[in-house]
Assembly symmetry: none
Homo-oligomer: 198 residues x 4
């Protein structure tokens, strides 16, 4: 099933991802990518229209499983609180396991002129959508406070998790994921749980 083309593309994806995470898109040359992938330069242009399109294809290919994972995470959870916790954990795990990809996403997400801008933004929107659904469910069920905007809170929690995750991986990678998840859980659950406020 894995054709020769697929194998070659995969080698290119891996090489490009590792290099771009380290040096950025503009800082990575096609020469470096093909050298790392072990193919000739022309091969990139046989399979893709150009360097940017290679990255676009890479993003599309690697992002589908991520979205799928989030979808399943949300479906598996019984309560809104559990769903939120599971989503945070899934996000942390994915960032930990796809560090290169996460870093690339962080640095390329806000660059508006890139051709994969739309792909990236729709991903972001769809992921935050899962958080939003969990929060909206919690509000409807009365377990989450009703004076917050679900969409706003979703984006805020997502950003909190990303920031914490990157801090974690850069400054104290030896900390177990559970500890990080627990810290975020405490902050996040309190932030949205209904009850007495300040």
């Amino acid at each position: 099933m894995a054709t020769r083309s697929d194998t070659t593309k995969c080698k290119l994806y891996d090489a490009a991802l590792a290099l771009i995470a380290e040096k950025g898109f503009a800082g990575t040359t096609v020469d470096e990518i093909v050298e790392r992938a072990g193919v000739a330069k022309g091969t990139v242009y046989y399979h893709f229209a150009g360097k940017a399109e290679l990255v676009e294809a890479l993003i599309a290919e690697r992002l589908t499983p991520l979205q799928e994972q989030f979808r399943m995470t949300l479906e598996a959870a019984c309560t809104p609180s559990a769903a939120l916790e599971a989503l945070v954990r899934a996000e942390l795990e994915w960032i930990r396991d796809n560090r290169s990809f996460s870093k690339m996403l962080m640095t390329e997400l806000w660059r508006e002129e890139r051709i994969w801008h739309d792909t990236l933004f729709s991903l972001r929107h769809s992921i935050i959508g899962y958080f939003e659904r969990a929060i909206a469910d919690g509000i409807a069920a009365g377990v989450f406070r009703s004076d917050i905007d679900a969409a706003f809170a979703a984006s805020a929690l997502f950003g909190m998790t990303v920031t914490s995750a990157l801090d974690w991986l850069v400054f104290s990678p030896e900390t177990p994921l559970d500890t990080v998840a627990e810290q975020i859980r405490r902050l996040a659950s309190m932030a949205v749980t209904s009850g007495s406020a300040a």
Copy 2:
């Protein structure tokens, strides 16, 4: 007092900032910067050692007032809760008023090879430090829960605010700052306030 040299540098700073925010550091050429600044190409190299050094100087010049503002914000607040709220508001205001700069910071922060990497990271560290101090004060005073790590929570709140701010500016810039600040205040205050947890 404003010498001709200062005027020229300022024009270069403004031009570079606007362009880099839009297209990134690597995507912005010296030609574009000097054209927008209305000076000749050689002028950049008369005032700075190179393109990177121009940006480094720009960052250093624009960062001092930011830190100063945070310092004063923290000093002016009476209670830890008020301090946290004021810091969030200061962060939001700054991002709103320095949108280009914020965007540049977001995209360049994680690029390790850049010469201003250290400057940027120490800025981040210092800003988060203000949040951390407010949270630690609150924990010590018993108004904030003691089962969270002040440093961790500080970074998380900072990231939550940045993410919300960028979402705000990109997707719904017409929303008043007060509304955004209030949403974050609700999430943040609950997150750290001591009381019953989920």
Copy 3:
């Protein structure tokens, strides 16, 4: 009789001719040729040694009938004047019916480094030879003036016809061939007919 090989070659000839007429030899890629011909890239190299050799074979294949037509035209004419007129008409007809080929000939004729340069020049020489023979016959018969060089006049008339034909096809293709032929006949016959000069 038409083997599969012949069919494939013919498809390649047609595709190559159309593209080269429009974009020139250097401006046409093998990829474009095979796409238009509907065959795979390797097929070109199965049948020909390379791109240049494909064009060389194409020229050789399409040129034989042209020369044959000129030979028969000359033989069929009774008088030198009629011969000249018939040659002009044959040239016009061929250019009209082989527009792509004519255009390719025009642009490639003066490119000395090409491998088919000799083929093309000998063709040109042979065609002009037919004109020359008709003019020389006319001079010998006393119906054409004797103060012109037959070879020179042949080349001049040939060039006049080509130029007029291309102008015709490019700028006023709706004009009937007869009108064009008649105009050239008037200019040409006067040019060579013996009588009083200016």
Copy 4:
């Protein structure tokens, strides 16, 4: 008056012209041009948008004097016959003195996709216009036959001259210009002069 820029551009024009006449536009590399011109590669792109634009500028720059020469030639002539003869002679002289340029014109004129296509065609049109005016004057004056189309005859004579000139330069460059001019004069003057026809 000759600025540094002008000097550099001129060196590039000379180098490009010589090389393109020999090897064609597509066959000439920018590297070859700059090496022959004795400047660095970037210089081409400092002064022109690209290789094609360099050639476009070259054509525009070298064509103005040619048109001017034709205009003066036509004005200086007393009679239509003399005008025609002078135009033919001017064309021959120019082709002889600008052999590289002529050859480039011949091979690039029919390539429709080039950016200088319009420039080249309007030149052609303007030059043929001078022939046309002379012929039309002769017809009006009764010295040229009235059964030919002035525009058609102009194009035909122009083409006849070009073809003869290139034949001359390629196959018998030792022939004096006067001999060639005289041959063409005989053919051309007879072709258009009013009198008994075949």
